[in-house]
Amino acid sequence: MIALSHITRSFQVGDQQVTALRDINLDIGAGDYVSIMGPSGSGKSTLLNLIGLLDRPTSGIYRLDGGDVTTLDDAQQAKVRSEKIGFVFQSFHLVPRLTAAQNIELPMMLAGIAPHERRQRVAKLLDNYGLAERADHRPDQLSGGQRQRVAIARATSMQPAVLLADEPTGNLDQSTGKEVMNLLEQLVEQNVTLILVTHDPVIGSRALRQLQMVDGQIVSQSEREE
């Protein structure tokens, strides 16, 4: 499903060339559950952004569902993000002036889905994530766990094939974090590909496939025994 070959990403910082990713080769299948771990600055977030089409590689080819997506223009990449990729962030990134329901509705609004259909999907998602009574609350009226549940509901509203989570439990206490992880893992069971970036080994070790990154390279891969 996701195929990265010889991906390199370097930035110009001042007069210095900084290489965030060096010659990454990676294949991830549909329904995989992958965690990417490593110290900060190891390039794991850059890799996630690249997979999420928010960033472009300096060189190399990225194929998503068999098609080369590195050559797509902005509008085409936006369409791919809209249809195939969901994001969950450490700091939730909810729009503060919109209600929980409106936040969940946002990707569908941008995609131009009919209001009738949107309402149905939002109601179902609110229900699935136990947010039905919080539908009209704004983010500042929600607890951290509730906020991340809204974010997950939003990420799945377009039924994406790939879910990218960048430190999804980073701003949550342990028990709430566990709860959020359970919700994400339920999605894997529904054949969603989950890619998780974390520096927390406890969280990272829950994934079936674990990647270790150091200095822009994947240094080791391991699979969890069932």
């Binding site: 928010l54 960033d55 936006a78 993000r81 994001f87 990134h93 503060p96 002036r97 995609a111 377009m158």
Partner: protein
């Protein structure tokens, strides 16, 4: 993205920063108020002046003796000017399109009646005078026909002259001396007031032939040609010119068309209205700068949100439209408030000072609202473009 959603999203940010939105919109509102108020007064003045000039009817061409042009060489035989005569006036009466002809002479003479004397303006006119100039006779009437050889000594009084000389008494049938000659009063005009400094009520009207004799003139001062409404003034002017050239052998007279004069006057007044509108436009420009400032701030404050929208699948164009939409919403709402304020103040002024003419044409209102929207659009373009071009990754990690 659907239009309704665009409205919902832009409205939500508008409402989230109520005070700020209100103040920014106020900038535009004040600008539009100024534009509407000034153009309303300008347009009111326009209509007032035109009404003042056109109250004698607009389908009138005035013929005056003498050609208003500079000629080379000595005046000689070509320079001599033949007077416009009553016969010229009669000749014009038969032309097509012509509804009425009014020969005119004006002067000053002493009136005497009831033992009182009064110096006043004496108008020598034709029998169609009142209908030509849309003036109303209050009682009695003008003479029935013009007799060039033996015009009868009849007079129509202006309202003021009647009051001064006859008081409450009915003047019809009474006699009046004008420059020593006896005239019979056959009509009284309705009060008309002053027109361009000339008091039409402090005047009397006698047949033109009589007035020429009274003032010892060999020619008329003017001939007024009243033509059928809807006829092209230039066509009538051409026919009149041809007829008089035939009679005089050359063009020793000038034509002034009321319609042309009004057109020139109207365009001058339009320039004035436009100029005062442009003055108001300056404050509108300041309002536009306010929008630019607020939108630039909004983009900076909401950088992370822009990154999020991009991650959720928004195209650059959608981000652009969202921020442009906000700028336009601000200016359109401000503009609408300004419209209401401007028109309201204009009407209030008119109510307080009825002599101040005020008029707000809907096309001005429409143009003002449109310019508010355009200003919002222009002010919003730069910030919205900056928002659209933000790098999604950098934007997402901006706190």
């Amino acid at each position: 993205m659907q239009f309704a959603d665009l409205i919902r999203l832009t409205t939500s940010s508008f409402l989230a920063y109520r005070m700020r939105s209100f103040l920014t919109g106020l900038g535009i509102a004040i600008g539009i108020t100024a534009v509407i108020l000034l153009t309303s007064i300008g347009e009111g003045l326009h209509q007032f002046v035109l009404a003042e000039f056109s109250q004698f009817g607009t389908n009138i061409i005035t013929v005056q003796p003498g050609k208003t042009q500079t000629q080379g060489g000595s005046v000689g035989i070509f320079g001599s000017v033949r007077a416009l005569t009553l016969e010229d006036a009669d000749a014009l009466r038969q032309l097509p399109y012509v509804e009425a002809i009014n020969p005119a002479v004006m002067g000053n003479a002493e009136l005497r009646a009831n033992g009182k004397t009064r110096r006043t303006t004496v108008f020598g006119e034709g029998h169609d005078f009142a209908s030509t100039f849309t003036m109303k006779v209050q009682s009695g009437s003008f003479w029935n026909d013009d007799d060039n050889e033996q015009a009868r000594a009849q007079v129509v009084l202006g309202a003021k002259v009647r009051q001064e000389l006859f008081g409450g008494q009915n003047p019809l049938g009474e006699y009046l001396r004008i420059g020593g000659q006896r005239y019979r009063v056959i009509g009284v005009m309705e009060p008309k007031g002053q027109i361009l400094g000339l008091d039409m009520d402090d005047a009397v009207f006698i047949p033109a032939a009589r007035a020429m004799e009274l003032f010892n003139r060999s020619g008329l001062m003017e001939i007024h040609v009243s033509y059928r409404a809807g006829t092209d003034a230039a066509t009538v002017a051409r026919i009149v010119t041809e007829r008089l050239k035939d009679r005089h052998g050359r063009e020793d007279f000038s034509l002034v068309s009321q319609e042309q004069a009004l057109e020139v006057l109207g365009s001058v007044l339009d320039v004035i209205t436009f100029a005062v509108g442009a003055l108001g436009g300056i404050s509108l420009l300041v309002g536009g700068v306010g929008i630019l400032t607020i939108m630039t701030m909004a983009v900076t404050e909401r950088t992370a949100e822009i990154g999020l929208l991009r991650a959720l699948g928004a195209r650059e164009g959608q981000v652009l439209v969202l921020f442009l939409g906000e700028a336009i919403l601000l200016s359109a709402l401000g503009g609408a408030v300004g419209l209401a304020l401007g028109a309201g103040i204009a009407q209030g002024l008119h109510w307080l000072m009825p002599s101040l003419p005020v008029h707000t044409p809907w096309i001005f209102a429409l143009l003002a609202e449109l310019s508010a929207v355009v200003i919002g659009l222009i002010a919003g373009v730069a910030p919205a473009r900056r928002a659209a071009r933000l790098d999604p990754v950098t934007a997402l990690h901006t706190e």
